[in-house]
Symmetry: C3
């Protein structure tokens, strides 16, 4: 039997809003250590990885490992019915083909339960090796979202270049070119507004803006985003989920020389 | 001659916004006692009944009974031109085929008058018998609107069930089922947030969510809504209009067994 | 060489938002006295005239007169990437076929530069004679925008009539007629809310609401708008740009008798 009770239920609403554009159907994996999801996006280009550790739940019971296949659009419709302050409980019996979501208002005057059918979804769990990154940029998540949105109005791809002084986001399109430079900045009053660059080697990689813009749907989850870059490795865009875990997106860089010919993302 | 002056003109704007989705053309009836409207919705399933008592107007002159046929979309276009703080006056000469709406800003610096053609509309006034209800639920109007909207994302109909402990709103659709339970609650600080259940007999009735969602367009008129239910009788969904009257919607329940076959509302 | 630095960069964003609906491609003219634009709208009915005086810029360098042809939609895409508090610098080398826009955040932590291709645009500069107006109305720009929007829901044209007592905006359409009267009002606390009528002769002129509604896109530029009217002359609708200049729109009146036949604007 599975019963997970999360006081800050709005976290689950935000997680769904963050990933449902990329992933349509996915297995949620539940074990004694936590509630997790790993899925490729529907065009098999980006990888989404979610972890919510069991310690973050008010109540966490998972008698044996379960993998529950869910349609994220349907799940999102149900979670939209939860209030932002609601306590959310996820319940499933062993071997059941349904899952129940229970939403309790803080005053307990309104209690909703939604039952959803589960799906069988084939998926293989990819091992993601721990990597050493050439550069790690931590910056305000809203600023990253703004930059990806702005650049997408000019071009299709973004070149992210990191030097000791700062990080540069560049694009080029029919109407012209754009370069946005952020400087390392650790002296601000609020830690959430700082930009911190940890660089071992300079790096410059090209990515499809379309996916970057999908990743930024996770902005409400965290005030900061961490972008980890290595040559010829997928970038990792990570949003921490307060005290509980993280939502990570992986995207392979484009080979710059072939950019004009291939353009698989358009 | 007719001349009705309403200081809180925004009430009339809200009334129009509440009913213009259901009713396209309707007769407004004016007598010495008040300004009223009774109309079936365009698919002849729901009934709308409005009453604004003469005492609620700052100035109310109605020399003889008049019935003025108006197109509510056109009327709404004109009322949208009134400011939210404007004083609204409705004027018509006896036998005239036009009506004039005058909007005065609180400072009297801006005065607008709109003249609209009247229409001939056939309508029979239905007598609505006073009924004894099995159960009457009074609850926050915004909560009722939220529940109807949420359930409509899952299914097409709502089953409203009342017991002494609370009221349950249920639906079922392709993606699963939903149950929302509200408990009687009279101890809140603000009377507008209370949920009060007056029950003589348990009752459980099924309604088309499409109409319920139209009714909730009246939410801005009142902080509370009253839902009056009896077996095999139309439900009455009532919004009080401060000190002046009410806007009531009537809707016949669906016969549950036939639900699958008939579905007249889809 | 050209280098114009404007601390209040949001002014340029607002100017673009105000004119890009009317004008698609236009020459920006730069001389030692200022940065200006004059262009007919794409249907050659209305004239737009912008002036930003050199004194209003923090830094203004223009070695010799330049005329830079720009596509306003593309320019607007780039300016949307500027923050509202950003300092904006416009740079171009003599004879270059590109222009560079630089946006600096107030803290200097984010610096963006956008390069846009220039276009060759034929244009003749029209001399606009200084005119004596029969009546000049100065009024809150938001009120003017509201009136134009409201009347457009009833009819296609507006008759603006000025008398000593006030200014009347009238229209007529299929659903009825509308008259909105504003009285002279100089006694309000805030000068931005005053309505001041300077009248030498009564005047009554008819204009296409479609263009008036385009002009009101300039509302964010200024709290007041000035409407200058003379019989058989184009109306001038002017928005002052704080300390720097103005944005003016010119529109010829319609000949009222022919209104029904011609209706070139529908």
């Amino acid at each position: 039997m599975l019963e997970l009770r999360l006081v800050q239920g709005s976290l689950l609403k935000k997680v769904l809003d963050a990933i449902k554009e990329l992933v349509k159907d996915a297995n949620f994996d539940c074990s004694s250590t936590g509630f997790s999801l790993q899925a490729m996006d529907s065009s098999h280009v980006a990888l989404v990885s979610l972890l919510l550790r069991s310690e973050g739940f008010e109540h966490y019971r998972c008698d044996r490992n379960m993998s529950m296949g869910m349609n994220l659009d349907n799940m999102s419709k149900m979670f939209k019915c939860a209030g932002n302050d609601d306590i959310i409980t996820i319940k499933a019996d062993d071997g059941s083909d349904t899952v129940t979501f229970m939403f309790e208002s803080p005053t307990q005057d309104k209690i909703s339960d939604f039952e959803m059918k589960l799906m069988d979804i084939d998926s293989e769990h990819l091992g993601i090796p721990e990597a050493d990154f050439h550069a790690i940029v931590r910056m305000p998540s809203a600023e990253f979202a703004r930059i990806c949105r702005d650049l997408a109005s000019i071009g299709d791809t973004v070149i992210i270049s990191v030097t000791k002084e700062g990080v540069k986001f560049s694009t080029r399109g029919d109407i012209g070119t754009a370069n946005i430079v952020l400087r390392q900045n650790t002296t601000v009053d609020k830690p959430e507004e700082s930009t911190i660059i940890e660089m071992h080697e300079p790096v410059s990689l090209t990515f499809a803006l379309r996916y970057m813009n999908s990743f930024t749907k996770a902005t409400p989850l965290s005030g900061q985003v961490t972008i980890s870059l290595s040559s010829d490795m997928p970038v990792v865009v990570e949003y921490k989920i307060a005290e509980m875990g993280h939502l990570r997106f992986y995207l392979a860089p484009k080979i710059e020389e072939d950019e004009e010919e291939t353009k698989p993302e358009t």
